[in-house]
């Protein structure tokens, strides 16, 4: 395939910056022109509103991606500004000045430009944006698990004193269990249906490595009218991609320009001293309590593991020394032989451990969108595809380890409660009979 925009760098002339910015803007589907950026460089207020809403429009969908019950985006600028500040804060953008910007959006375009550029690097904003808005042509399969049931807190109107009976908690948990089951059944049904569609349309896809049609493709055929949308989306995506490639090609110019922007520093003040003006308020949304708890747990586990390793290593070392001395007595030439062997072993182990470190190897590609392709066993498959069996293997391993963790936690509770149960006088405690389910 021909590659667009692989032109030599010398092309970058004086008009390059506006071109670069406008392609970036197109890639982000924002209507911002180079002029806005220029204004921002000089901290002109005219650019403020545009930049806020650009940031908002970029960050909102990213944030919503993992969120439950899509909340309505705040209409008022103020709400949007708060949101943007909050997200940046969570990403660890540390410039106080930014957070001190007034929420009426009256000034701060320079700050916003800095923040925007920071996000470009930190979040790989354009790439991410493209992925996020990726048009689905295939039957997509995410192997990635992180977004699956990601939950966001739901704002609550707890009646009365806001206290609930434990039975209500049980009720909710039971409901959740039922929901899981419904999900399971729906998923199974979807699999069956998808497979039918794949099976029935085998050989119809122009790309032989795909072979069959997907749901969006079939819809294109089935509902020519309404499927125009898909085509439009694809077209618009194509132009975004083109713009992105163009941007990539000229990106350097932008960063060079940013250098000058930073030189300009029209505000002058680095960071005002007041640290806590905004942060605590924002951080209400985060839960360090949870993280701290997690850290404690992980630390505990790691330390236990270290302890255990310490002991076993010592034992093992001793065992090995005895073995070596015994062997060397019998085979004096062992040492020569063994040096090579030992090296080999060290290498093998090194590889093994490295593989282990990468443990979630599948995950590296699992976050991506995968087109689901049906191919009967025995049919040849191209390289560059991922086999479901491999995914299943990984998932099984993960399942087993999670189950173990869960059981461990339950046992922990069991032990603690058993101790407490001894305090109940004149009461026989009957545990539920053992059952597989």
């Amino acid at each position: 395939m021909g590659r667009l925009g692989r032109r030599p760098r010398e092309d970058l002339g004086p008009g390059a910056l506006p071109t670069a910015i406008s392609s970036l803007s197109r890639a982000l589907r924002g209507g911002l022109g180079p002029e806005t950026f220029r204004k921002a460089k000089f901290d002109l207020p005219e650019a403020v509103a545009e930049l806020w809403s650009l940031l908002f429009s970029l960050l909102w969908p990213i944030h919503q991606e993992g969120a439950v019950a899509p909340r309505d985006p705040p209409d008022a600028l103020e709400g949007q500004i708060r949101f943007v500040k909050w997200v940046l804060c969570c990403y660890g953008y540390g410039r106080r000045h930014f957070y001190q910007l007034s929420e009426d959006g009256s000034y701060g375009s320079y700050e916003l430009l800095l923040a925007f550029s920071w996000l470009l690097v930190y979040l790989s904003l354009p790439e991410r944006f493209l992925c996020l808005n990726c048009v689905h042509q295939g039957d997509d399969a995410w192997i990635c698990l992180c977004k699956d049931l990601a939950s966001y807190p739901v704002s609550l109107a707890l009646g009365g004193k806001g206290r609930v009976d434990i039975r209500y908690v049980q009720w909710l948990l039971g409901k959740l269990r039922f929901q899981w089951r419904s999900l399971y059944a729906s998923q199974q049904e979807q699999c069956t249906l998808l497979n039918k569609i794949h099976l029935y349309t085998r050989g119809c896809h122009p790309d032989p490595s795909v072979g069959h049609l997907s749901v969006p493709e079939l819809e294109l055929l089935r509902f020519p009218e309404s499927s125009k949308q898909l085509l439009q989306q694809l077209e618009s995506e194509n132009s975004c991609l083109e713009a992105f490639l163009e941007w990539k090609h000229m990106e350097l110019v932008y960063w060079q320009w940013m250098d000058t922007v930073m030189d300009a520093n029209p505000i002058g003040i680095p960071n005002a001293g007041k640290q806590d003006v905004f942060l605590p308020e924002i951080l209400q949304y985060c839960s360090p309590k949870y993280i701290t708890g997690e850290m404690d747990r992980v630390q505990k586990n790691l330390e236990a593991l270290r302890q255990r390793l310490q002991e076993t290593v010592n034992q093992q070392r001793a065992a090995w020394h005895t073995k070596v001395s015994r062997c060397s007595r019998r085979l004096p030439r062992l040492s020569e032989l063994s040096t090579a062997m030992m090296k080999e072993i060290q290498e093998t182990v090194g590889c093994e451990l490295a593989a282990l470190e990468q443990g979630c190897e599948v995950k590296s590609w699992s976050h991506r969108l995968q087109r689901l392709v049906f191919r009967e066993a025995g049919e040849p498959s191209n390289s560059g595809t991922h086999q479901m069996t491999k995914v299943i293997q990984v998932l099984r391993r993960e399942e087993a380890s999670l189950e173990k963790t869960f059981r461990r936690l339950q046992e922990e509770c069991q032990q603690e409660l058993a101790i407490l149960a001894r305090g109940l006088e004149g009461v026989i405690w009957i545990l539920p009979p053992y059952q597989r389910w």
Binding site: P153, L158, I166, Y168, R177, C204, L213, I291, T348
Partner: protein, 466 residues
């Protein structure tokens, strides 16, 4: 009654989890509904509206470049290959349709091309899919195709319908390689009927009913299901074109990502550095999001290490240790040492994270957990390349999805268990188990924490009830 803070946290967590499930379920239901519609009989739909798609109107017209033509050629090669594959799959079907097609032309219809007309069909039923000249501006992009389509009635002949080569020889110019229904139309304006997209386009049949949404009873018999005719469907050319352009663009994007431009990278690094130095970004080195992610990673790592340790020790079972060869002994030793080193590294990292976290928060405890789960967006640089994931049976697909769900569920369950432990255990620890309320709480907590809320224990007094 549970204390207010505890109530609030538990209910929030659970409601959140429920809402997440609900959302997922709704999405699934939608996608199921879509599939089901497709699997139901395809009735003859309305003819396309004569209006071209608006979006395409705005597109600047341009001549097909030589490159585009080349792409098309490649595309066609791909199609040819696809055909080979298909041949194998549906030999039976195609031979069947080939033989039956001539005698009983049933399913195939009007060509949707401009003025295209089924040659032997009932004229009443034949509705021109689209007035030919409507879209001069739109067809700009595909002028050649537009021209090519003026071969009236040629369309059914498909270069790829090997079974039924049409009598018309193919025009040599570009797009006619795929003389599909909608030639001459703009991309994004599919006008073909499902019937007409069937491959077996040589024969004729009544064309779509005249009005949208109304299906003439007489035409009902035209309904077909994917099961029967699915393999004869064909994607319209304009779609194929756009799609192929799309994938080539994505490939380039991919390429950019994999091959880092050093100059740009340096410039970016420089920018970040300057931000930090000049503007004194005081924020901690690691963001909360990252901390969370790292902690999770460490947790996972700890798990894997433990597992590996057990495997290493368990290779031959404890009993057989004596009979290990020295190589095995050594292997084990090196492994253990390696693990040890890894653990040390992780602990070190954890310390760093703790420091970072303290910087972040200070001592102030804060409630509610937003970060419990929202963190996939932290995974930077993911890409939207259209990779394939191949499955070979519905069972495999089902197993995968089931496992995926199971893993997600377990994660959620573990998370909830931890929260419940944090909140509930202190309640029973602190108070003396005296009153009935306390005992009831105790029983409920046991069911929640030890039985996953599925079963309950029973407390019976030592003496019978009076």
């Amino acid at each position: 009654m549970l204390p207010a803070s505890c109530s609030h946290r538990l209910v929030t967590e659970l409601q959140g989890a429920l809402a997440a499930c609900q959302k997922k379920e709704e999405a699934l239901q939608q996608s199921i509904a879509r599939c089901r519609v497709l699997l139901q009989p395809w009735e003859v739909p309305s003819p396309p509206s004569p209006e071209p798609a608006r979006s395409t109107e705005t597109k600047p017209a341009h001549e097909p470049t030589p490159k585009e033509l080349k792409e098309l050629e490649l595309l066609n090669q791909a199609l040819e290959k696809a055909l080979q594959v298909r041949k194998g799959i549906c030999q039976v079907q195609s031979s069947k349709s080939a033989s039956s097609g001539k005698t009983a032309p049933s399913l195939v219809t009007a060509q949707a091309g401009p003025g295209a007309r089924p040659r032997t069909s009932n004229p009443k039923a034949c509705v021109p899919a689209k007035p030919p000249p409507t879209s001069q501006r739109d067809s700009g992009r595909l002028k050649k195709p537009a021209r090519a389509s003026s071969h009236r009635g040629k369309a059914p002949g498909n270069a790829l319908t090997h079974a039924r080569q049409p009598e018309n020889s193919m025009p040599i110019e570009g797009p006619s390689l795929c003389p599909l229904p909608s030639q001459g139309q703009v991309p994004g304006l599919p006008t073909s009927t499902p019937v007409s997209v069937l491959r077996e386009a040589g024969a004729t049949g009544p064309s779509p009913g005249p009005e949208e949404g109304k299906i003439q009873p007489g035409l009902r018999s035209e309904a077909f299901t994917l099961k029967e005719k699915g393999t004869q469907l064909q994607l319209p050319l304009f779609y194929k074109k756009i799609a192929s352009r799309n994938s080539s663009l994505w490939a380039q994007v991919q390429h950019y990502q994999s091959s880092a431009d050093t100059a740009v990278a340096a410039a970016k690094a420089h920018f970040m550095e300057r931000m930090k130095v000049t503007f004194d970004l005081p924020g901690p080195a690691i963001s909360l999001a990252e901390i969370q992610e790292e902690v999770n990673r460490l947790d996972q790592a700890c798990h894997l290490l433990t597992q590996h340790l057990e495997e290493a020790l368990d290779v031959n079972g404890e009993a057989a240790t004596a009979s290990l060869s020295w190589e095995q002994e050594y292997h084990r030793l090196v492994t253990l040492e390696g693990l040890q080193a890894a653990v040390e590294r992780h602990l070190l990292r954890l310390r760093e994270l703790r420091d970072a976290e303290e910087q972040w928060l200070g001592p102030r405890p804060v409630e509610s957990s937003l970060w419990g789960s929202a963190l996939c967006l932290g995974g930077k640089g993911s890409s939207g390349s259209t990779n394939h994931i191949v499955y070979s049976s519905v069972e495999e697909l089902q197993t995968m999805t089931a496992l995926k769900l199971r893993v997600t569920m377990l994660k959620q369950q573990i998370h909830l268990e931890k929260v419940l432990m944090e909140e509930l255990l202190p309640l029973v620890r602190s108070e003396n188990p005296a009153g009935p309320a306390q005992v009831a709480l105790y029983r409920a907590i046991h069911s929640q924490l030890c039985e996953a809320g599925e079963r309950f224990s029973i407390l019976v007094r030592d003496e019978p009830s009076v």
